[in-house]
Symmetry: C2
Subunit: 450 residues, 2 copies
């Protein structure tokens, strides 16, 4: 009754100013008790939909404004494709449902009630302790629990650092060129503009970095995204020397550092100088991006401000998720999952490299030692890139070239540029089975040869 009346007012069916029948009359018409009508009138009067006056009865108020039509659909769209080599997503079918479910049960079974209260904005101490052990052991990170902040992923880590640096006067930050285009919007939201810094074969060009005047720079030293190179030891030292000389900060985005196939992973840059490197990582590649769970390690001088930023962004990470992941790590489930992914992704990488050699003879494949994507430089006859992309797109293959990761503000002559004659593909393979990889590469080759 009450809801129907409210809706009638809101939709305009009962126009502003309309006199309503007396509660006695309406009760009689509807065959309900008069008390029910009185209560509905009082309730909707209290809410502001109706008005009433002594002896004047009840009428529809003029307060209601109808909603406009729905906002346009803002959801991202993924077009269908016969093969999709866009990097960035792991194989979601490898998500360990049974182990996750077991950790969920264990969490709800032994969790004290108090653990359901507002979180520590830094993250659950138990999880930070587990992560400190994990990151020290697997990634060579200096990771005492006191300098870890549990975040929703590398994107939130970037947002937090962007705000912290901006509050300290920074309005620019260096990024690798080519690099991940995601950073631009994240830092822009914090008021910080990204400045492209070119790469050479050993990593970020530190001369260009120094010349740019920035005092913070985002890097992917273990497996540069997208070129796939690992920063050389010399370049690591030069980069840290730069950071010390300008009292600056290197942001290490360890987005796929867990995966190295032919030997042990290269340890994190952060281990060399934790007071000049902020380290971030997540479970997005090892478990699932949908979990939104990651970690950020910051130099001591930035710790308090970073935690306060986290607090004012969301008060802290969901506690049940943290309790669960702490148990998942402690039980050895996370290590098991990493080994399982490692095996699967090595097989896929091998399938991709073999398929490229078979279908694109003469192609040079690089960045294969680690990570979840490779770079394939095709012989000149496949170029130029625009024509190649148009052909394979028509055949239903979604793939990106290195140029797609060029920074929009990079100087026109700076590589990678569209003027380059060679086609350099950035091929993500983690989300594809070996059979799909082989079929996709064949499809691409057939389209290119047509």
């Amino acid at each position: 009754m009450q809801a129907a009346l409210r809706e009638a007012v809101r939709s305009g069916r009962l126009a502003s100013g309309t006199r309503l029948p007396s509660s006695r009359d309406l009760a009689g018409d509807l065959g309900v008790s008069r008390g029910l009508i009185t209560e509905a009138y009082e309730q909707l009067t209290a809410e502001g939909y109706l008005r009433s006056g002594r002896g004047a009865g009840t009428w529809v108020g003029d307060t209601v404004r109808a909603a406009r039509p729905p906002a346009r659909d803002l959801a991202p769209r993924t077009p269908g494709a016969r093969a999709d080599f866009v990097p960035g997503t792991p194989d979601l079918a490898l998500f360990p449902r049974a182990a996750w479910a077991a950790a969920q049960r264990a969490t709800l079974a032994d969790l004290p009630h108090d653990a359901l209260g507002y979180p520590d904005p830094r993250g659950l101490p138990r999880l930070r302790t587990a992560l400190a052990g994990l990151l020290a052991r697997r990634r060579g990170v200096v990771a005492d629990p006191e300098r870890i902040v549990v975040v929703s992923g590398v994107a939130q880590a970037s947002a937090l650092l962007g705000f912290v640096l901006h509050a300290r006067g920074a309005d620019t930050i260096g990024v690798e060129h080519p690099g991940s285009p995601q950073h631009d919007a994240l830092y822009a939201a914090a008021g910080v503009r990204t400045v492209p810094v070119p790469l050479d074969g050993e990593g970020l060009d530190v001369g260009a970095l120094r010349a740019s005047g920035v005092r913070a720079v985002v890097t992917t030293p273990s497996h540069q995204f997208p070129t796939g190179i690992a920063y050389s030891a010399r370049r690591r030292a030069e980069l840290l020397a730069w950071a010390r000389s300008v009292d600056g900060l290197v942001l290490e985005d360890d987005y796929d550092g867990d995966f190295r196939y032919d030997r042990a992973p290269v340890g994190a840059l952060q281990g060399l100088d934790p007071e000049h490197v902020a380290y971030s990582g997540s479970v997005s590649k090892s478990l699932a991006p949908g979990l939104r769970l990651g970690w950020l390690l910051v130099p001591e001088r930035l710790a308090e401000e970073t935690v306060e930023r986290k607090r004012t962004m969301d008060l802290g990470h969901p506690t049940l998720d943290q309790e669960l992941f702490a148990r998942f790590v402690e039980r050895g489930d996370y290590d098991r999952q990493l080994r399982r992914c490692q095996r699967a992704y090595r097989e896929r990488r091998d399938a991709l490299v073999a398929a490229l050699q078979e279908h694109f003879p003469g192609a040079e494949v690089s960045g294969i030692a680690a990570g979840l994507h490779v770079i394939a430089t095709l012989p000149a006859r496949y170029g130029p890139g625009d024509r190649f992309l148009a052909r394979v797109r028509d055949a239903g293959v979604t793939v990106r070239t290195l140029e797609a990761y060029a920074h929009p503000d990079a100087a026109p002559g700076q590589p990678p540029s569209r003027a380059s004659p060679a086609v350099r593909l950035v091929l993500g393979y983690a989300h594809l089975t070996p059979a799909r990889i082989r079929a996709g590469v064949r499809l691409m080759a057939e389209a290119a040869d047509r």
Copy 2:
């Protein structure tokens, strides 16, 4: 071996410049294979801990900077107390573990793999649909799924709106005085300063609001925090008229709107004018704050910017949590939980009111119709407030007076002020059993009478 060597370099036990033994010698000393040593040297050289030169052997590099001592503990502290009436936390023992576990199992059992990918920054469509139904039904909100953003709670909703308003040129926002002190830091982080607007018996003083010059204001119309009043119908209309006249925005923080004990809850203000009211709520009072799950409904003109802000803060809410809560709502579990809490909290409210009447005769108790706290105005003989607070604190009772929620920038004469002779207590009761409530009130009365 490798980890031990890395740690030795990092800790300074192996000083910069130290020559390391040849791989053959060290292998002999340690009784391990030479290959193992070679691999460790190479790895740590690649990482930058060691350096090596042709024929010069291997030595410790000068790149490593040791970490400073751990940052000081930033965790919030809750001191032990014999009775704690501070409002803001529900009874965490009422968290429905069995139903939650069932929803978890159902989620992992029937979830398609794709659902584990990056989230829609607005929130899962299935959850937004479930929430739209719930909020329309329970709170009279105009809630089509397209204008809902799934957020981590009311704090994140505030942060998002703060950033959106700031980007549109706002540098101030009105807040209720007295009101929740949490808002100040959240809006300050977005570059927006809070301006106190006083209340009268019907709600926010709209004349003072107009005079303040702000164009957005944060309100708690269903059960004002902390005074406990419900905005009158007239005041609701005046507030919306103000918003329309200045092309402004009313932020409705529906922090405990689900709980009304003696009749149906007052419908949300948002239902009256969804283009001038942004509505936010969460499960923090109905389930647990640690879940960090809430919703924000914004006018259409702000929808796109709000979603983009959410995206650049954390890319979107964790998908598994959203899938789970969608099922929890669909199965009727959420309604059951609200009914269960409603019963428990009404009993506690009644216990508190009775205990106050027994132990503080003459006390006036208000704001009891709804929410999870009441206001008790004690007879003048208990004052002044400072002395009362000191006495009960010494007896182990944690309690706040209304003055604790005064805005720091409010004019000295504006109520509530410390000059007020009456002691007005803000008593949260949801987290306490009836027995604890009675014991706490008795303890407080004994301490005050001493």
